[in-house]
Symmetry: C2
Subunit: 412 residues, 2 copies
């Protein structure tokens, strides 16, 4: 393989291929001529890049009724019939696997749920089995697998570090294990980060797509307080992938014990679980957010007093995030808002009252509309797209630049 040679000129071609992918991701199906106009690169160049991508099964042509003058364009789209990727979501109780096209659209009929096994080996074999089911029957090529999992992840080593809810992944690297077992690219993401990527690519229906939402925050207020930050189009990781640990900011002096070992962390008072805990305390028995929702809907339970306790803390969390990250949007995932139609608006009103900074005026807070499945899929798609260009470290904010090229003098 003549890989070592002519590496630099090839870079331009690879950059062009990546740009073509980006255009299709942002603007949806296009013809070659459309891409030429959007990128400002000449038509023959686009033609070559497209044919290379077609050969790699990342794109596909499709017929589409035309309505303009002139020769009808051959439409291109991200591969959905000729290739797929697979998303794996590992969660505390249940995990699942689902396939999707390269446009990120999930194939719901392919969903395979299973209880999260008690051992790591069990997990891997379950996933391998589900993978076989999703690939064997079909003539479609599978390009990669994305993993979304909770806890802390070391991205440099692609290794789970610390996951209170799914401890079987601690110290393990499902990404590299599955890569060797399945023979396809696998990539692992912290679940909040995966939600960020999903929101980045697929969250905004049609109109918003081209505006480029590159600075936003994803707040998951379910089991704890998870946060992902998209900054300048890249997911913020910090030095070791631990950035965004909003949940463990000290909030209540000598408050309730937190899973992290400290007391009174923000996530002990500002998430679905915290609300459920407060309700459980009052009614004298343990109740989950699911059950609370049911009973509230049927009028058997009123949780207004607990909501009033939780709301100021959530509002503090949002204020903090706005001040420190200056996002243009905050997306919030939480079951809590299903309890009452007005709850979400109350939260925003309360935050507005306490946050009088210019940054607040810039920021819109909305409910998230993406799932972890979409996150896992978005992760592997992003990975495949960025792999087209060596030295471009997409996904995460950590500069490769020179260090990607080993210093040849070191081998002497």
């Amino acid at each position: 393989m003549p890989a070592s040679s002519q590496t630099r000129p090839r870079l331009l071609r690879q950059m062009n291929e990546r740009s073509v992918m980006r255009v299709l991701q942002r603007h949806g199906p296009c013809s070659r001529a459309d891409i030429t106009r959007k990128l400002g690169v000449t038509a023959p160049t686009i033609s070559k890049a497209v044919s290379s991508l077609l050969q790699g099964r990342l794109l596909e042509e499709f017929d589409c009724k035309q309505d303009g003058i002139g020769r009808p364009a051959r439409q291109l789209r991200l591969a959905t019939e000729t290739a797929q990727v697979i998303g794996l979501v590992i969660d505390a109780r249940e995990s699942h696997v689902v396939s999707a096209g390269l446009d990120g659209r999930l194939d719901c009929s392919s969903l395979r749920r299973f209880d999260t096994p008690k051992t790591y080996r069990g997990l891997i074999s379950k996933v391998v089995k589900a993978y076989e089911e999703l690939t064997n029957g079909r003539s479609i090529e599978t390009l990669g697998l994305g993993i979304s999992m909770p806890g802390l992840i070391d991205y440099r080593q692609q290794k789970g570090l610390l996951s209170p809810n799914v401890p079987i992944t601690n110290g393990q690297s499902p990404a590299s294990d599955l890569t060797s077992k399945l023979g396809i690219d696998c990539v692992m993401l912290q679940e909040s980060h995966s939600l960020c990527l999903a929101q980045h690519h697929y969250g905004n229906a049609q109109g918003d797509r081209s505006q480029g939402l590159d600075n936003f925050v994803m707040l998951d207020i379910g089991a704890g307080l998870g946060m992902g930050v998209m900054s300048g189009g890249r997911v913020l990781t910090g030095h070791s992938g631990l950035a965004g640990e909003l949940g463990h900011l000290p909030r209540i002096p000598d408050g309730r014990a937190c899973g992290c070992g400290k007391r009174g962390c923000l996530e002990t008072v500002a998430c679905d679980s915290a609300l459920a805990w407060l309700v459980s305390q009052r009614i004298g028995k343990s109740i989950g957010i699911d059950e609370i929702e049911k009973q509230v809907q049927s009028g058997k339970l009123d949780v207004e007093s607990e909501i009033q306790q939780v709301l100021p803390h959530l509002s503090f969390a949002i204020s903090t995030v706005i001040s420190l990250f200056n996002p243009s949007k905050i997306f919030i995932c939480g079951r809590m808002f299903d309890l009452s139609d007005r709850l979400f608006d109350r939260l925003i009103a309360e935050t507005a009252a306490g946050t009088l900074t210019p940054a607040f005026a810039d920021c819109e807070t909305v409910r998230a509309n993406v799932s972890k499945s979409q996150g896992a899929v978005a992760g592997i798609i992003e990975y495949l797209t960025d792999s087209l260009v060596p030295g471009v470290d997409g996904l995460f904010a950590s500069r490769a630049e020179l260090s990607s090229v080993p210093d040849k003098s070191a081998r002497m």
Copy 2:
């Protein structure tokens, strides 16, 4: 000018030139052969890139005693004798202008201080005058000017937004005004951001240079609580350049009035000014941090009780920063630590006690060793270096990518 044509092939050449600059910035003076080894690009390519940079006055050759075998190398370094850049620091009371080489080393003899004028026009004419002094006499080429200023800055428009301490810059754009008056590139940075850049490039004496410190936080606890975040090698700006507003997190319910209009903001209790305010309250007259330091050094004043009030809040600030940004280092600028040798260690010990997260173990807190002058200079140097490649948005984290190429279809 045939600028519109052949733009894409030229990209490679520009990328190579930028890479050469980066190598010299990180590793210090090198020969062409050294650069070839470090970058893994072939020798003739480096030769061409270097000669282009020499012509652009960004590099210069110099003689240096050799000690190896073989033909002695011609050493290259960032221009210091053939070119200079100028840094402008605008501050509340005093401003100054200073020149520096492209390696960022300040020429202290060139320092020109002046009281910050009361009007914007006055400021500009003062700067123009100082610029003349620094350039007219000398045969050296001036490549650009960097501006460091407090307050909020809109980077997209290069315009001052809101600066409580230097209100004359509000709504003004010294960068573009000076660009047109002086005919050289000018760039404007928020002072904390400029300190980040300075620390990134010039803060670590020799050994650290190659390790690539790409995730750190700069905390300025002087007049307020300013913060700059370097994440993945880029300065975090957020959507509108307002990211990092740590100082105005709510901290003391119904606390002292803050300049921002709210009460009890973190910076009302956790900076040099806050300490000075507390001391002033006790002794019954207004006293600044300078005077406090003098009196403490001479034993006339004891501020231990005020320090004990400020320390926990500072510690909270550091904990928050570590949890949210996961930096590998935190640099702190503050006069406060000059009051007592042990104060800095006490702060770290107090923070360690309250912050038991994995992110804390990754993070080292040290005192900053860069100045705003270096920041202003680092800003313009970074700008000049990145300008070599169109579409590379150095300095700040906001993806240009496709949007840098206007959609040609729009002109129809």
